[in-house]
């Protein structure tokens, strides 16, 4: 199968008063039609920035896309003129954002904002736009869509707003839907509902979904393949099963170990990842995770590990000692971490 989207060695940074922030530092991945591809990482890992770069929503300056290619439909998006990118934006690749309250315009009705998609990309009239909006609202499960379509965003609840955002994004049946932390601002119960909507929509429209989140639980439920990012670089990439059950990067291991689990009665303490996130202006040399890695060795401090296949045919990791991690389980990890904490 041909990939829909190919990101190659992407580098995006920002000029700030404190220095140059390399937010995306050499990321490469592919997304295939119809799959759900999750990008996982903490705040500051660069996951949102990479999505915005794909959409072309990075302000240049102070942003700068210093290297890389983004291939879509055989063309490199980064070299396309703005009007061609705009034609793709929303129509072929659509994006929904984290906070639906602030992401919707408070002075326009929901119907108008959704209908706008049809009006821009398909030349629909106002009436047609509104009609389409009603259909879409119905599709995402909003009750009484013909009434709700004339409501303003503040008259919707959080979960409904996010559904409206989804409706807006899929209006033109995009091949790729990017969801940037779609559930972070919502209550837990509503989270599940919204994720289900995304899931159903995906099936309905046949689009691929790029799901960006820091919440591993969300990923576990929905993703086919996962990429773990840290400090702008890729740490691990593989199918959801591979990454969850056979992690091959210390950071992934740490993430998994730090999750409180209902079934894990044995471990009493949560296992944190020691240290704090690095400065993106002054990144640590060598492996960017090495200051926090419980397994750090000399090579890690000096040489940047390449992203390479470490298992099967597509399970990749950027760790010099990925193979050794095969043996480590979470209980062992917690022991190691405890030791290190006592030393510190």
């Amino acid at each position: 199968m041909e990939p829909l989207l190919i990101v190659e060695d992407l580098h995006t940074g920002f000029h700030t008063d404190g220095g140059y922030v390399q937010a995306v530092d050499g990321i490469s991945y592919e997304i295939y039609p119809g799959e759900t591809f999750a990008i996982v990482g903490e705040s500051g890992s660069g996951k949102s920035v990479s999505a915005l770069t794909i959409m072309g929503l990075i302000d240049v300056p102070p942003g700068e896309i210093s290297a890389g290619r983004i291939m879509w439909g055989g063309r490199d998006l980064l070299t396309l003129p703005e009007d061609e990118r705009r034609a793709i934006r929303g129509k072929e690749i659509a994006m929904i954002f984290q906070d639906p309250m602030t992401s919707l315009n408070p002075v326009h009705t929901i119907g108008r904002q959704i209908g706008e998609m049809a009006r821009i990309h398909e030349g629909a009239s106002k009436k047609e736009g509104r009609q389409r909006a009603v259909e879409l609202l119905d599709l995402v499960g909003i009750p009484q869509p013909d009434v709700r379509v004339d409501n303003y965003p503040h008259e919707f609840s959080g979960g409904m707003r996010q559904r409206a955002m989804i409706a807006m994004a899929i209006a033109c049946k995009p091949s790729l839907l990017i969801a940037d932390e779609p559930t972070t601002a919502l209550d837990v119960t509503v989270q599940a509902q919204v994720l289900e909507v995304i899931h159903d929509i995906r099936d309905e429209i046949g689009s691929a979904v790029m799901l960006i989140t820091h919440d591993l639980g969300v990923v576990a439920g929905m993703a086919d393949r996962v990429m773990v990012m840290y400090a702008g670089r890729a740490a691990e990439l593989g199918t959801a099963d591979e990454v969850f059950y056979e992690p091959r990067h210390p950071y992934t291991l740490g993430l998994l170990a730090s999750l409180p689990r209902v079934d894990d009665a044995g471990i009493e303490r949560l296992v944190p990842i020691i240290g704090h996130p690095p400065s993106l202006i002054n990144k640590p040399p060598g492996c960017v995770f090495h200051p926090r890695c419980p397994f750090v060795e000399e090579m890690c401090r000096t040489t940047v590990p390449e992203m390479r296949v470490v298992e099967g045919d597509a399970h990749m990791s950027a760790c010099h000692y990925a193979e050794t991690l095969r043996e480590i389980g979470t209980s062992e990890l917690s022991a190691i971490v405890e030791e290190l904490e006592e030393l510190a």
């Binding site: 705009r86 934006r89 659509a94 994006m95 919707l104 315009n105 408070p106 409501n151 503040h154 409904m160």
Partner: protein
């Protein structure tokens, strides 16, 4: 909704009452003899009999509270009293001056809205450009040059100087005076009289509107919904105009509305400089002359106008910002 309007209208009453009472108090502390004003001429003393007659007629001898009560009684029946200075009914004076003040204010607001908002939007779009810097400096200047200085300069440049240099009629503007003849209330037969006072009066307001528009546009451009609009594939122009402007203008509209409320009374300087027969100038003159009925009567109208316009502005707020609409159900 109607309940809200009624409540607000009822609030007008204490405000007007309070304002007029304060004024009334001011005037009764005033030393200064209205009798002098009315009957005294060229410094001759007023004959006792005349004095008595006048005091009787105007109730000047009665205790203050009685005069106060009388004032309200009169006013509530529509009788605004008689000017001490000119013996004309205050309502006549009102009829001559109020329309002129209103006209000037409306035109000034028109300028503020069109030029002010456009300048602000342009300035925000071309941020940090030369045009933006120029606008910043110009608006700061317009807000800080005293209005009367601006007025004088305008008079000099467009009226006196051309006159002195013997320029042709069409290249000159009259420096003083109020047109008598108006069409549809707002359009004078001789527009040249209107031009300078209108621009000068609008100067400060335009500067403020331009600055505020620029600020709100910049604030709005950082908003998440702007990013969403771009993500939808809208052209930058549409993003700004259709999504940004509507939001950015909300506070600006309030500002303009409040300015209108103020402008009718605050135009005194411009009216004086250009000899425009408006309420501000009339009240100022009457204050100097201790002509209490005129001051009280005209100010009453000003206060009522101010409060009503404020109420309208508040109500219109709901039109512009759906989040504050009264009476709409939330889900």
């Amino acid at each position: 909704m109607t309940g809200y309007v009624i409540r607000r209208l009822l609030l007008v009453i204490p405000v007007v009452w309070g304002a007029l009472t304060i004024l009334f108090i001011l005037f009764f502390i005033v030393p200064g003899d209205p009798v002098e004003l009315m009957a005294g001429a060229s410094g001759r003393a007023v004959p006792e009999a005349t004095r008595q007659a006048i005091e009787e007629e105007f109730g000047l001898n009665d205790p203050i509270l009685v005069q106060y009560a009388d004032f309200w009684k009169r006013t509530l029946t529509g009788d605004l009293g008689t000017s001490y200075a000119s013996r004309r009914p205050v309502s006549d004076i009102l009829g001559e001056t109020f329309p002129n003040s209103l006209r000037l204010a409306i035109w000034a607001i028109f300028i503020e809205t069109t030029i002010g908002i456009s300048a602000g939007v342009l300035s925000a779009i071309r941020r940090y450009s030369f045009a933006d810097g120029l606008t910043t400096v110009l608006t700061a200047l317009a807000a800080s040059i005293p209005v009367f200085v601006l007025g004088f300069i305008a008079q000099q440049a467009f009226g006196v100087f051309p006159n002195q240099q013997g320029w042709p009629e069409w290249a000159r503007l009259p420096v003083q005076g109020t047109p008598e003849d108006w069409h549809f209330f707002l359009f004078p037969s001789d527009w040249r009289y209107l031009l300078l006072p209108m621009l000068v009066l609008a100067s400060v307001g335009t500067a403020l509107v331009a600055r505020m528009t620029r600020t709100t546009m910049l604030e709005v451009s950082r908003a998440d919904y702007m990013r969403t609009a771009r993500a939808k594939g809208l052209s930058e122009r549409n993003v700004v105009m259709r999504h940004g402007l509507r939001n950015a203008l909300i506070p600006v509209v309030t500002l303009i509305g409040l300015d209108l409320a103020n402008l009718i009374g605050a135009a005194i300087i411009t009216e004086t400089v250009f000899n425009w027969r408006g309420m501000g100038r009339q009240i100022a003159t009457s204050i100097f002359r201790r002509d209490a009925p005129v001051v009280l009567g005209l100010t009453l109208v000003l206060v009522v106008a101010y409060v009503l316009i404020n109420l309208l502005v508040d109500l219109s707020y709901g039109f512009f910002d759906p989040r504050v609409r009264i009476g709409k159900e939330k889900s």
